[in-house]
Every structure is written in structure tokens, then in C-alpha cells.
Amino acid sequence: MHKALPVPDYCMKIILPDKSCRDAGPGPVTVETLVRDLGFDPVGVIVARNGTLVTEDAVVENTDEVRIIRIAHGG
């Protein structure tokens, strides 16, 4: 019988484009990796870490709040 994987007691809070929240972790991880793991194309989103815009090669950690903003089309 397999032992269950340990569940991290902390993780980063992710706010998705539809405003729903989910936890992800553990970090640290680059923004680009996180965005891809969540199923988004980095070209189509911008990311704020703790309220500040960051680049795809920035790093997010377990204590961070990460907001993913989809670039809406049209206009």
C-alpha cells in the first residue's frame, strides 16, 4: 500500500481570471511555470504578485497571493 504524499501546510493563493480562488504549491516556482501548470498560455495573461505586476521569469512563493488576469479580446 502506498503512503499518501505529505500535504504542505502552506501554499500560495491563486486568484484565477474568473475571480475564483484556489491554492497551489508548494513554491517557489517561476510565474511562467505556474501559469502553464494552471493551463494558461503566458502570452494571453498578465500576473500580479501581492498586487504588483511581475514578469514571467519572476518567482512566486508559498506566502504569495498570485492574481492571473486574462487579456480580454475585443476593443
Binding site: V43, I46, L53, V54, E56, V59, I71, H73, G74, G75
Partner: protein, 325 residues
């Protein structure tokens, strides 16, 4: 990856070494925290240098392509969405320093329930904030009905129907406003998609057609000052100005070929940074090769409405007949 910076007591900046990414990459010009990373060039820019870079590139596009000249009355096609909002903000910053150029805006209300109301409110707020003259015109006023009503049962044709009606509406609105140039918010993504779509359709004349310079007095020349600014750069620019609004997407966008091309190009751009710019460069080279070689379409006038067109009846009059069926 940058390396060699020291850690900070706040932990904001991780101690960097060659195999550990820094938590916040730094601006290549001033070492401030980077907000944008250009994957093609590898360049990182902070807020101030990113904004300055965008505005300089728009000014360079306008100058190099001679899009605006002294005495012009530039009318912005302002939907209130992100692209036209950024266009207005940038032109309002650039143009006061240019010779006797006037700026105003027009908004088209196509009549798309649940979509256009929000962007029109956003457009109204923006022109008030910048103190610009602003005129609005609706499909109902011009064509006797909303786009929603015209598209019942023919949703897959939405973009082509809307495109024909919107083009006419913009021409009427710009003409009423006394425009000498009609500025639209088309960005690099839009332009690259158009190049690709024209290649897919095998439409060489449309590929090399330049709406800004070949008007020959038939219509108000259209200019696209954001044609080399990516959709993502526009979103970042707005976000940095606190002007980002989470507006809905056009409900008809899902039906368009453009939607498929957009997804394909975004994926290619992600894997091969610079793809969209390369498409634009290809277009420029093809234009140069074709200069003077393509047979010019004779200037004709629609026998129903008198507008300039390429056939006997213009696209609008042809469409109107099907709308009334």
C-alpha cells in the same frame, strides 16, 4: 537570468546565483523592479521605462509611416475597450507637443446586449477625463436595427456582417466629426492575425492593401498607431496606469476564423517569441516586392448608394438586401 544581486532583509529579492531565478527580475535600464519581459530581446523594463518605451515606439511608428501631419484632425474610433482606450491615452500624451493636431473621438454602438453597454460607459468616462469632443452613432440610427437583431440565425457570419456595418458607421461618424484621419486601436496581434488570415485565404491584394495611404480621397484614411504594440503590452500599459477594466469579450468572437488564428498565433508566439513581428516584417517585404506590380482596382461607385466600391454594388448594399430578407 540576471545574477549577482544581493539578498534583501525583506526577502523580496532572493540571493541570486546562476541556477536560482531571482524573485523579481530587474530593469535593464535602471535596476528597478521589472514589470515586463520582452522574450524576443530578453529585455526587462520597470514601470517608468516600460511606459516611456511604449510611447516612444508609437511616436516612432507615427513619424516613420507619416501617419499624422500638422493640421490633422485625428478622430479615434473609441469603443471603450482596452485597445482604443490605450490609443486615446497615448495620443493624448503625444499629440499636444505636435503642430496643430486636433484629437477627438467617435463611438459606434452596434447594439450587442450585455457587451457594448459597459464599454460605452467606459468610453464616456475616458473622453470626459481627457476633455475631448466625442460623438456617438448607433446601428439602429444608421441601419434601422441592432446587430443582435440582424444576426438572429446567422451568428457564424457575425464578424463579416459587423465589419461591413461598422466600417460604414465609422466613416459616417468620422465624416460628421470633420476628421482628416481615423485612428483605430489595432495592435500587433490583430495585424499579425490579419496577415496570416489573408495568406490562408490567398488574398494577396488585401494582404498588401494599406488603408492609411491608398484612400485616394475616397474615404478618410485610417491609421493604426499601435500596430507594433502587442496586446499584452497594451494590457500592461493600462494596468500600470490604473486604467485596466475587466470588460467582457464580444459574444460573437467565438464564431470567427480570427478566433482560431488568434489561438494558433498566441501559441506560436509563446514557443517562438517574435513570430507576430516576423509576420509583419514578411508583409512589409511582400509589399515592397509587389509595389507597382499589382493591377489597381478601378474606382467605381455603387449603383445603389453611390459609395466607392470595387464592384457594381457595394458590400453594404448587398448586405442590406440579405438583412431585410
Amino acid at each position: 537570468m540576471r545574477s549577482g544581486s544581493s539578498g534583501s532583509p525583506t526577502g523580496d529579492e532572493a540571493v541570486a546565483c546562476d541556477d536560482v531565478p531571482v524573485k523579481t527580475p530587474r530593469c535593464d535600464r535602471c535596476s528597478g523592479p521589472a514589470v515586463f519581459h520582452d522574450k524576443k530581446t530578453g529585455r526587462h523594463l520597470c514601470r517608468e521605462h516600460f511606459i516611456a518605451d511604449i510611447e516612444k515606439r508609437v511616436a516612432d511608428t507615427i513619424r516613420s509611416k507619416n501617419l499624422i501631419i500638422p493640421g490633422d484632425h485625428v478622430v479615434i474610433a473609441l469603443s471603450g475597450g482596452k485597445d482604443s482606450t490605450a490609443l486615446l491615452m497615448i495620443l493624448a500624451r503625444l499629440l499636444p507637443s505636435w503642430d496643430s493636431v486636433r484629437l477627438s473621438a467617435v463611438t459606434i454602438d452596434e447594439g450587442i446586449a450585455g457587451y457594448r453597454e459597459d464599454t460605452i460607459r467606459s468610453a464616456d468616462r475616458l473622453v470626459m477625463q481627457y476633455g475631448l469632443d466625442h460623438a456617438s452613432i448607433s446601428f439602429t440610427e444608421l441601419f434601422g436595427g441592432t446587430l443582435d437583431a440582424f444576426l438572429k440565425g446567422r451568428e457564424p457570419e457575425a464578424c463579416s456582417v459587423c465589419g461591413i456595418l461598422r466600417r460604414k458607421a465609422l466613416n459616417v461618424a468620422a465624416d460628421r466629426a470633420g476628421a482628416t484621419k481615423l485612428a483605430t486601436g489595432h495592435n500587433l496581434d490583430d495585424e499579425a492575425q490579419s496577415v496570416f488570415m489573408n495568406v490562408l485565404r490567398g488574398d494577396l491584394p488585401r494582404l498588401v492593401r494599406d488603408s492609411g495611404s491608398d484612400s485616394k480621397g475616397r474615404f478618410i484614411p485610417r491609421i493604426k498607431p499601435l500596430m507594433f504594440i502587442s496586446e499584452k503590452e497594451i494590457a500592461v500599459y493600462l494596468m500600470l496606469h490604473g486604467a485596466w477594466a475587466d470588460l467582457p469579450e464580444c459574444p460573437y468572437a467565438v464564431h470567427a476564423l480570427r478566433g482560431e488564428v488568434r489561438g494558433m498565433l498566441a501559441s506560436l508566439e509563446s514557443k517562438y517569441p517574435g513570430t507576430m513581428l516576423h509576420l509583419m516584417e514578411s508583409k512589409t517585404r511582400i509589399e515592397a516586392q509587389c509595389a507597382g506590380r499589382l493591377e489597381e482596382e478601378p474606382v467605381r461607385h455603387c449603383r445603389e448608394c453611390g459609395d466607392s466600391c470595387s464592384g457594381e454594388i457595394c458590400q453594404l448594399c448587398t448586405l442590406k438586401k440579405t438583412l431585410s430578407q
